[in-house]
Symmetry: C2
Subunit: 202 residues, 2 copies
């Protein structure tokens, strides 16, 4: 498997199914000799392209989805609570992620895990730069550097470009996982993702 490109894992920090998948995707890839590249996106921007809206705002499907988030998390043994607020604006954690990713991808992933853990089981508001700086500080990142980074035009542009690139690639939801060009949408496609990694198709 050496030399194969990473599996692309697109997610919105505010997406419960993205959070659930985030707790499983690296283990699935790694036990099959692959790595995972995390790529936060902003579903609000994506939905402007697709005309779709967040699940919880849709009649009938909305109530069901709130129920299914929690039930699916329990099914997979993932600690979960609905964030407050929900859905939330993921611009700041996404900027922090891409800023860190340019310096230390492993640290960026640790930040993302910590932010998702704070938002989901923790029900902490991670929408502000200050909240993100507090999470990053626990990983040894200087608070002031985080607060400067989220206002850095280059970091803002990096996130904008990543989201645009995702949309051009056809990403329309969270999680959205691409294995060697093959796209999979949804935390409920991880079994298929694993089989695709193993076999290159079926």
């Amino acid at each position: 498997m050496a030399g194969k490109p990473p599996v692309d894992f697109y997610f919105d920090f505010s997406s419960p199914y993205g959070y659930i998948a985030s707790t499983r995707i690296d283990e699935i890839a790694e036990r099959n000799g692959r790595t995972v590249k995390w790529r936060p996106i902003l579903l609000g921007v994506v939905f402007k392209t697709t005309g779709a809206g967040p699940l919880p705002s849709q009649p009938l499907k909305g109530d069901y989805s709130l129920h299914d988030f929690a039930r699916s998390a329990r099914f997979w043994g993932v600690p979960y609570a609905l964030p407050k607020p929900f859905p939330f604006n993921a611009v700041q954690p996404s900027r922090v992620f891409y800023w860190l990713d340019g310096r230390d991808p492993a640290l960026a992933k640790r930040f993302a895990r910590a932010a998702l853990h704070a938002a989901f089981p923790g029900q902490q508001d991670i929408t502000s730069a200050e909240a993100c700086a507090g999470i990053a500080a626990q990983l040894g990142v200087t608070r002031e550097d985080v607060l400067a980074a989220v206002n850095d035009p280059a970091v803002k542009e990096k996130l904008r470009a990543e989201v645009e690139s995702a949309i051009k690639r056809g990403v329309f939801g969270s999680p959205y996982i691409v294995v060697d060009g093959e796209p999979f949408w949804g935390a409920d496609r991880l079994d298929q993702v694993e089989r695709w990694i193993k076999s290159g198709g079926w």
Copy 2:
């Protein structure tokens, strides 16, 4: 398990994920000592309530879903082809189903399986009363009785009432499976359906 009510299996004859689930749901229930009540619905009527539309007409998600229908069918080992036309109007096969269901539920289920098989791997147009009568005839049902049934006001009313009852219950997609009051949406929830049947929750 004796005495427990059947698992309710809502589906639209035109739904690929409904078709995929139809090939697995009875086996899942029966190996856990339960039976399944099939309940065809009309997604076109349901979507008027939810404001949603058929997956294939949605930007980005549409192309993905056509790909995912076929890939998921292969994943589960289910013979599959996209029906022609697609999506199609399921009024007539649904009427035939409920007419037969009032006389012989097992026969109604055999008819539904045969109609789905004709539409999906077979790519036969099952939208007309004549096509449905041909399918029913192979199961020993008199063609003329089928052609009369689909125009029987009581049969029409039965389908209308079933769809209305489903909407009132919160059914918004296909397949939609209810186990002892617990709703599951999607062919990708059958693992959860089975665990719920086994354990009554988690």
